[in-house]
Symmetry: C2
Subunit: 450 residues, 2 copies
């Protein structure tokens, strides 16, 4: 039993040395020990030339095609750039299932796409791929593969096994067998387990499970991920508008969707505007962070204006608590937005209406605000800031927390209503607006009291 080999910097160092000595025999034997996912990981860390050297040493085309699918877009583009359209068709696309093939082809230029498609020998395969290319990437159609095993409702299990043996050569992962009628309408499914457990030949109609879940090709990919997770499905059939079976989505494709979505939310909440990884270049990393910083600076300039409006010279002690008020406004807003965003993502908000949600947020804001403002009143007075200033800070804090809590819940709900990604609300813009509005409330209360 071979288990995964740890790919660390020592391993990469050894491999790079072998590549530099052009010791192809040793490189090949090193690569043979690895799972394709590990080879993809190794290739990602190598220079463009070394990556090409290694890739060309992999003689098994099934393996090299699978590695290509596992790579990041840029790396794949680099490796494909040396191949002709004919080579891409014969050495890569022919070895892939239709969904992976469509993903690879989809990144090529329109002209190359056509050329590659024309070089695919298996016409059915070419048609499947060209069909899949019509669906948006983030829809069920963009996730599904055309390869699946289907049987007719009128068959019995023996016929079924025979047909399946024909079909299964094209399908790498078989989880379920779909049952259709003569018009290719999806009627139900049959599990492999059930088929294996049935000893004598019986009609499929007797062992079909009709209580199944399917999606349309236009279903959003996040909805697909939610459905598969909620109903614990490893494969999900895709049907057209009149219920005909047109493809199936497997869980491995969807794992990435769910993870990417969660990562995107996390990046948004941390103020990163593009999908970057720590291994990206300094320039890419800088560019992904600049937008928030720019918005933050504009917010800061507004903040300066707000402070400037008030007569700070006379009550300069108000300045002491600017960081406190600004930070708390931003924090509370993000917290309250984040809970709403996760609620939306998990579909658990479907049942609650907007008004109820806002009332609840008002309750949470009031409770948090009262607790915090009492603590800060005691703390500031105890630290000797005087009763008037302490009262100002305490009352402002309560107002800012309640306001930010409501605002934080309101914005993502509104964004969702207008079909904009609600996670944006935990990002830069709202935080900054909360900061500035919080300052305004603070100085206004300050001027009134002092």
């Amino acid at each position: 039993m071979s288990n995964k080999i740890e790919i660390n910097s020592i391993y990469i160092q050894e491999l790079t040395t072998l590549i530099e000595h052009k010791d192809s025999t040793k490189v090949v034997s090193k690569l043979e020990e690895l799972h394709i996912a590990d080879i993809a990981e190794v290739i990602e860390t190598l220079s463009s030339d070394n990556a090409k050297y290694i890739f060309n040493l992999i003689s098994d085309e099934e393996r090299s095609a699978a590695i290509l699918v596992d790579l990041e877009d840029n790396t794949r583009e680099n490796l494909l750039s040396d191949l002709s359209a004919k080579e891409i068709a014969e050495e890569v696309i022919d070895k892939l299932e239709s969904d992976d093939a469509a993903d690879v082809i989809g990144e090529l230029s329109d002209k190359t796409q056509e050329e590659v498609l024309s070089h695919i020998e298996d016409i059915d395969h070419a048609n499947d791929i060209s069909d899949l290319l019509n669906y948006p990437e983030d829809s069920a159609g963009g996730l599904m593969a055309k390869e699946l095993i289907k049987v007719n409702e009128n068959w019995n299990t023996v016929q079924c096994l025979k047909e399946m043996r024909k079909q299964a050569n094209d399908v790498k992962k078989v989880y379920t067998i779909y049952v259709v009628n003569d018009d290719n309408k999806l009627l139900g499914l049959m599990s492999l387990r059930r088929l294996l457990l049935t000893q004598r030949s019986i009609a499929i109609k007797n062992i079909i499970t009709t209580d199944i879940i399917s999606v349309k090709a236009t279903t959003d990919d996040e909805d697909v991920a939610n459905i598969m997770q909620k109903y614990d499905l490893v494969a999900l059939p895709v049907v057209d508008d009149i219920g005909r079976l047109i493809g199936r989505i497997t869980i491995d494709d969807v794992m990435d969707v769910a993870k990417e979505e969660a990562e995107k939310d996390y990046q948004l909440a941390s103020g990163i505007s593009e999908d970057v990884e720590s291994s990206d270049t300094i320039w890419e990393l800088t560019r992904a962070r600049l937008p928030w910083l720019l918005i933050g600076m504009i917010g800061g300039l507004f903040g300066a204006k707000v402070i400037g409006i008030f007569n700070l010279e006379k009550h300069f002690e108000l300045a002491f608590f600017i960081p406190l008020i600004a930070a708390m406004g931003g924090n509370v807003g993000v917290q309250s937005a984040a809970i709403v965003v996760q609620g939306i993502a998990n579909d658990s908000l479907k049942m609650e209406n907007l008004l109820h949600k806002l009332f609840k947020e008002l309750g949470v804001g009031l409770l948090n605000g009262i607790i915090c403002s009492i603590i800060i009143l005691i703390a500031t007075f105890g630290l000797g800031y005087g009763m008037e200033l302490s009262l100002t800070v305490s009352i402002s804090l309560l107002a800012v927390i309640v306001f930010a809590a409501l605002f934080g819940a309101f914005i993502p709900l509104t964004l969702e209503k207008y079909k904009i990604d609600p996670a944006l609300a935990t990002g830069p813009f709202i935080t900054t607006v909360n900061d500035v509005l919080g300052l305004f409330i603070y100085f206004w209360i300050g001027q009134t009291i002092l």
Copy 2:
């Protein structure tokens, strides 16, 4: 083909009315249309009494046991509270696979656990469950089920099918067949597809796949999720220290782990310290948010002290840019920490050493800092804040951005080294420290220049 019924507030309203009229026939027929995952969702939204009413109407024990597994801990506890240990054993645990059974039993008190176990008729099932209860929840052992299909390497495919028919009654989801030797050591696997494609009886040895991945029972659950995602696995065998097969983990159990982990990071980054949902009570939501707010307030009080140290009365104009400096320090710190945290979570940092990482972060920080400080210099001077103040703000901003970028990358790397969740670094503590240190840098530079 039955597709999922949309569960919205109207549906819940209708159902509640039927429950109030004790119209059990109509309630039962409404519930029969639903998937167990949907019934669980419905039960979560109902009052405790209504939930019990509905739950008791489900006559199929297989179905009610599966619903229990899908519920949140509190709701499950509420429904189980009416059942005796004997009923729990016979009506729930007997109907569940060992992993789900262990999860349900694990939440009961030690005394009830023993009682329930003693009432399970199938001794093997009871032993399996009591064995699984020994593993920590967040380990491969805590995720795995004991039910699996295994065959001996010396058998042929016909023997194999016969044995499988015996075993498969206990196993609900069959993805792969594990091949072991006489000592139960895991040798490889055989796919159902392969078995179905093999027409004549041949020795299993000839169709076994030996190149497989397994984990030990002590493997961390996040590592399990990463491995299954990386290698596109729907099932993963678990072995003991000497390689004997002791269980298997299926993808549905792991989907939740990966998602929960991503959600936890997002909540940490947004300053929420407990796992809450928007449907939780006001008090739970308040409690989950208070810790960050308290840390934020302490930071704010430190900020006030820092400002107090310097002679603000003389240079009160420095106060204008307090929000700008504080916000930028916090933002940059979170951005840089978030990228490192995601790198660690995705394992892509394994190959890079700490020093290299910090140098890169220095580069990103410098680039961002220079761009921002030039913009702010022009903006503040243009807005009429005077050259000295503009220079102070611009230089401070550069210093704060570079410092926060380094600090933001350093902290999660250090936390990871000491096996503390690095996502904490995007949470309250670091943001606040960055705010305060940023202010200190600003005022120090301000006093030097002005």
